[in-house]
Symmetry: C2
């Protein structure tokens, strides 16, 4: 790991980081669409073509920012979860959801980058998957733990969904009852519906007092999976 890199390699990693930092700054200020390679280069006192030594294209820069955003969101969620690790599952569930919302409100453009409409023509490379999965895995962990403690009463599983549910649990959530799979995945998606609507202005003049509204909705989401409170 910590191989003493030559001055050259060190400079490279430093400049790469500086580019990402400046890009993130512009992303936060103006949004992904207005992120301009030339502007980043200008802010860093280099010429635009030099930037291509570090990121072969604008999309690659965006991909790096996407991974960072997923990781930042995942870290925020994990941190919030650890702070309430001793509480009952329903409380931990809410804490994670609230952390996701909090991160989204604090980083709207980065949230839009990862959970808004994908930049057209852009396909997320496989590299983003592990970072993207962190919040999902955290929620799975809460539900599995609830199951192990006997604090989970999942709703009945429609026969139609049995095979799918068993595949899902086998793939991503071994040890979790298949009855919880579909409600959990749905709740996961619905969580982002709630956050996205608030963030993108759909609640304007509809929901005013948003935090309690969100907590109520999220608690219902937990109950729909079978988390008891």
């Amino acid at each position: 790991m910590n191989t003493p890199q030559g001055a050259r390699a060190r400079a490279r990693t430093e400049i790469t980081a500086a580019i990402k930092d400046e890009a993130r700054r512009q992303l936060a200020a103006e949004g992904a669409a207005k992120l301009s390679l030339r502007a980043v280069a200008r802010a860093l006192g280099m010429v635009s073509s030099a930037l291509y030594r570090y990121f072969p294209s604008r999309d690659d820069l965006l991909t790096a920012l996407i991974i960072d955003a997923y990781d930042s969101l995942g870290a925020a969620a994990e941190e919030a979860h650890e702070a309430v690790a001793d509480e009952i599952p329903a409380v931990r569930w809410t804490a994670v959801c609230v952390a996701v919302r909090g991160w989204a409100l604090a980083h709207p453009h980065e949230y839009a980058l990862i959970y808004g409409s994908p930049v057209p023509g852009y396909v997320a490379p496989q590299t983003t998957v592990p970072a993207a999965a962190r919040v999902g895995l955290l929620l799975i962990g809460v539900v599995r733990d609830a199951h192990e403690r006997g604090a989970l009463t999942p709703p009945p599983l429609p026969g139609e969904l049995r095979a799918e549910a068993e595949r899902m649990t086998a793939d991503f959530a071994p040890g979790m009852p298949p009855e919880a799979a579909a409600p959990l995945v749905a709740a996961w998606a619905q969580l982002y519906g709630l956050v996205g609507f608030e963030l993108f202005g759909q609640f304007h003049r509809v929901v005013e007092d948003r935090e309690p509204f969100f907590r109520d909705a999220v608690a219902r989401l937990g109950r729909s999976i079978g988390l008891r409170d």
Copy 2:
């Protein structure tokens, strides 16, 4: 109304429509980000500056497309609702949700335009509001009707949300019990979470058999508001 417009006015409305048509075509093909005024003008055999006689800016063209998209989605939902107008509310609820999903899958870029991340810097003008409200009003109607038939058992309303819920019902859903307001608005947002996740690829390798999964989630959503089936 039907004032016999002069050749000039007629030409204007025709050309305006032609511009929107071509723009919609490019939107469907490539997405909003790649919608280019110059390309639209080129396809129509006019020069780019001429297009500005009809739409003062690219944003105005997009706004027109957004309103059309909201209307198209609203019409699809209303049509689906009318086809099952005699069924019980739970069935009508599901029908509307399924229609929303169907429209989204058929018009992914238009869906992304209205429910994805807003084009940065772009603020939806007030003109879009009535078109945007159609689906919401339809869902409100289903729930209110369920209430009037005695087929609605909304969950208890947390005291914290009482005032907000009463304001919401007074503003948008007179005649609906306030207990249903928060769950309904949440379900509305969550519906778009489900659709968005499917559309934007988050269910890739997670949910395979998506229609039954969606129906199950949507039925749970209806039950969370208190619709009995």
